[in-house]
Amino acid sequence: MSDFINNVVQPYFNFWVYVILLMMGLWALIAKNNLIKKLIGLSIFQTAIILFYVSAGVKEDSTIPILLSQSPAEAIDPSIEEPLPESGYHSPEVPVAAKVDTKNINPDQFANPLPHVLMLTAIVVGVATLGVALAISQMVFKQFGTLEENEILKQMKGPAEDG
């Protein structure tokens, strides 16, 4: 058992988390009876995929993809760094962004920006589509008086007294 954990689970622990999250979402989508619970499952499914993409952009010993003074020391050219004044603040004449050697950036120092961009838009579209799904659920509730799938199916099969 400990062999299994050390060799299979531990090196790919992040992927295990995403797969388990995805299975939870898929389970809710298939097995749950309530439409709102299905929507929650869809959101969990989406979260697993977003986490997967973001983890693809992670690099060890890198920082956020913004070229500012937060960059690691290697990304900042030490020749243009001037000593801090007594007050502890940077001199206002030196713009902070200029401290990064923008001509010669080492890509290993910054996290991959592309997955962040893709997931930024995916999250926003996910919220918008969730809103549409909730609106449809409200209409379903208005029509049938319930959000349970089996009761809706029973009403649809039965005599169409509701029109």
Binding site: A31, I105, V117, A128, V132, Q138
Partner: protein
Amino acid sequence: MFTKVIALIAVLITGSLLLYGVADFPAFGDPNSPANAGVAGGAPSISQYFITDTYSDTKVPNLVTAVLADYRGYDTMFETVVIFAAGMAIFAILRVLGNVNDKHHRCYKVTTISDGDHNRIIVGSTVKVIVPIVQLFALYVVAHGHYSPGGGFQGGVIFAASFILLALADQLNAALRRLSETRYIILAVVGILIYAGFGVVCQILGKNFLDYGILEPLLFTKGPEMARSHSMLGVEIGVAFTVTTIMFAIYANLASRGSLKHSL
């Protein structure tokens, strides 16, 4: 019960297939993985170009904003259109269809907070203090999206949150007085028109759609790089308009079940 067993089997098969494929993935945080560095022996990954050349192309330090609004400008524009379409879909479902046929309307007891409720005094006056600060912060996030984490989507959602806070604490009418239905639909369209307008002006001047470098004489900037930087701010403002109004529209329509009268 039978369906749940079938569902469990389907979920377990999917999960085990995915876990079987996991062994071929690169380790977590590997800088030399195909996504980060490209395939060994092949061309380097496009993301390396984004990291090394974005600043000299656009003079924008926040690489995520630069990739979002410039290199992937088409994607972001139609992303905004998708949000607008979602808002219009909710409008069609709840406002138009929901109010057409009220005969079968199941009766809900809509409970609203009465005017004499003391909670409204405390919560309402606190929110009145907080809302301007939230909105100021939202404008900062939009305007500072080039230099720090932020941009049109994030700032727009924060701005919408201030209106939703107002609607939650007070009546929905208090928020709708400031951002009425006509107004939010017009502003959502204006946001998309701002974004598409930048693209069309580039086309009129003889470059490709959303090729901002040509806007240099119109924006009075030094060089096409700064023109790209300023145009990105412009399209982010357009995105912020659409996201703010549609997010508030989604809340207002869902919370009032399409009537826009009584809220939660």
